[in-house]
Symmetry: C2
Subunit: 361 residues, 2 copies
DNA sequence: TTGTAAGCGTTATCAG
DNA sequence: CTGATAACGCTTACAA
């Protein structure tokens, strides 16, 4: 029963008593095949558990049905590590998978061929990927620029790149930051600080922009010492918060431009002998799984992470189908999710039954 | 400067004034090429930014330099969602990437060809992947069985599968569970309960086994009502803990067989008006990022997640190089990481400066 | 409705 | 040392 060699179209043809051309027609659903022939070929194909060779098909069709995914969280933080991207990947995988595409994860190490240094553009050509999704990249990165110049359709998530064949999908970071600040203000705070993300990234810069814009709109004076630059990761949130607490007039509320940093901030506050939200109210950004599971649970700006992935996939699919489709420049709305870290703390008992949407299980 | 068509070996040959055969030799580092010729070809290749076509090479070499990664966390929980697998993926990516392999993520949707229902075995053949890594699968799954029978080298992470060409890499789950229980006992607890993972999975079953074994070794009587079956996710931990707290004689310590469940348990304890670790001590399993960032931070059994990935990659590489290499059956050690959830609570101030290894940043 | 044959971009076998 | 040339498995004119 088990076959050593993978069945080829030739074998299928032989066993069905027709030519390979006919088999190909059947497999690709061409109209001009007699019903009998079609049935017979299909039957044999089933028996053989036949699958066409992707390599052969790619070679002749000049397309691979594969999308390359470039992940780069930069700064020496291991790729893939940030929970945000993981969730985006889920959305991407589902949408693109449904469209008949597979995902090739671009590793940062050497390419398959010993021939040259790794280069995303080169590897994209090597595998003849039909499209590219890049996440967490710096648009100024020469590697990325190279990708943009190549004629491969590309969609960036969370980075504003533009090119003839490349667009982006991003969350409304400014709007989200404004929501966060307004919420904090509505909770009665006036001394509202921020721990930013990497300012070299679009989300990092935009969230700071939104913070400033909303302060101004609310008539709350902006102060330089209330801005701590972080990098989206836990430790920078911890450090930023410590610095803020050391101020002569520490803030009573902090907007951390990422949930991981917010978690770090909570740690700093508690170590300082203070409590969240009693002494310091906190709002994060992203709504990663952690946010709902923390104690206290974290008020945050929810990004539709799988939505970003799905939207990126969708856009890519469109660009693949129609060569002249305009690259996307989509901004997805975000929403404020109020949890414990920004509320006046009620009695322990009263907290019961809240935030149980947690894992979606 | 920009070229529309991807450069082929033929073009390279033409421009270098040699035959394609010679170019191929140069590119593949054959010895029998004159230094001058080699230099010239390499020079032109650089100018053209030439990359060989993976498809063509796969076709003729009958190998793709691609490893398929099958992710399946089952139970309707979205794939990829569990942080554990994400970290394994990092290790895998690095090791395999260094070995010159790329990773193809097997999406759960339709295959590239409209031809048939998705089947991992079929897709593996379709892409002619050289090897397979499967994670979070049920070894009894017919799909998985099919993969095992195929002659493609396969390494499973966290599932004990065996086959002529397939092995596994797993953590010492029993040992880890024993460590957890012993630690709890050493903290002075006698009423030690467990919230298990899915018992249909190897880790789920083994951790329960370890729990029982250690109780017995310690002379602590086992009681059925102290065993709550969970599924590794937050909500089941929450529910399990509630059930335990509702017992006439609730436990004073709980071993949650996964960190996510431990987080759920913390939530339940606090909602009950009790505190961790004062009223209930808690130990988790995995040491996902969340564990160190929670409040209180979570004592847990650390799995070497990237190590699992790297080891799996390593083993696969070995199997690919030598056809007769024995499939791995590796068990990786785990370690107890003591944090706040299992300690007698000291004053707030005293907690300062602990657990700051958090993100590795 | 079906078959023949020419590629797709490589590698590998033979001759030279 | 180098060059023709035959595969590899498939799609697609072009013929029949």
């Amino acid at each position: 029963m088990r076959r050593l060699q993978i069945a080829t179209i030739r074998e299928l043809a032989r066993l069905s008593g027709v030519s390979v051309a006919t088999v190909s027609r059947v497999l690709n659903d061409y109209a001009d095949v007699s019903p009998t022939t079609r049935a017979r070929v299909l039957e044999v194909a089933r028996e053989l558990d036949y699958t066409p060779s992707a390599a052969a098909r790619t070679l002749v069709m000049q397309r691979s049905q594969v999308i390359g995914v470039v992940l780069q969280t930069g700064e020496g933080h291991p790729d893939l590590q940030h929970p945000f991207f993981q969730e985006v990947l889920v959305g991407l995988k589902h949408r693109l998978g449904a469209g008949g595409y597979d995902l090739l994860l671009f590793a940062t190490e050497n390419p398959g061929n010993g021939f040259s240094e790794h280069s995303f553009a080169r590897r994209a050509r090597h595998h003849r990927v039909d499209g590219l999704v890049v996440m967490g990249v710096d648009p100024a990165d020469p590697e990325v620029q190279k990708l943009l110049r190549s004629s491969i359709p590309l969609v960036a998530v969370d980075a504003e790149v533009v090119g003839r064949r490349s667009g982006y999908v991003i969350s409304d970071n400014q709007g989200g930051a404004r929501l966060a600040v307004r919420h904090l203000r509505e909770c009665g705070h006036e001394r509202i600080a921020i721990v930013t993300g990497m300012l070299s990234t679009r989300p990092g810069a935009d969230r700071l922009l939104g913070y400033r814009a909303e302060l101004e709109a609310l008539g709350v004076p902006y102060r330089d010492d209330y801005v701590q630059e972080g990098d989206f990761y836990f430790d920078s949130g911890y450090r930023g918060m410590r610095a803020l607490l050391a101020l002569p007039e520490p803030p009573t509320a902090v907007f951390a431009a990422g949930d991981l940093m917010a978690a770090g901030a909570v740690r700093a506050v508690e170590e300082h002998g203070l409590s969240v939200p009693d002494d310091v109210a906190l709002v994060g950004f992203d709504d990663i799984q952690l946010a709902a599971m923390m104690q206290p649970s974290l008020t945050t700006i929810r990004q539709d992470k799988t939505g970003l992935g799905a939207t990126a996939g969708e856009a890519l699919l469109r660009m693949l189908e129609q060569v002249d489709a305009a690259p996307p420049t989509t901004s997805l709305p975000v929403e404020l999710v109020v949890r414990e870290s920004s509320r006046v703390r009620s009695s322990r008992r009263a907290r019961k039954q809240r935030d149980l949407e947690v894992t979606g299980a």
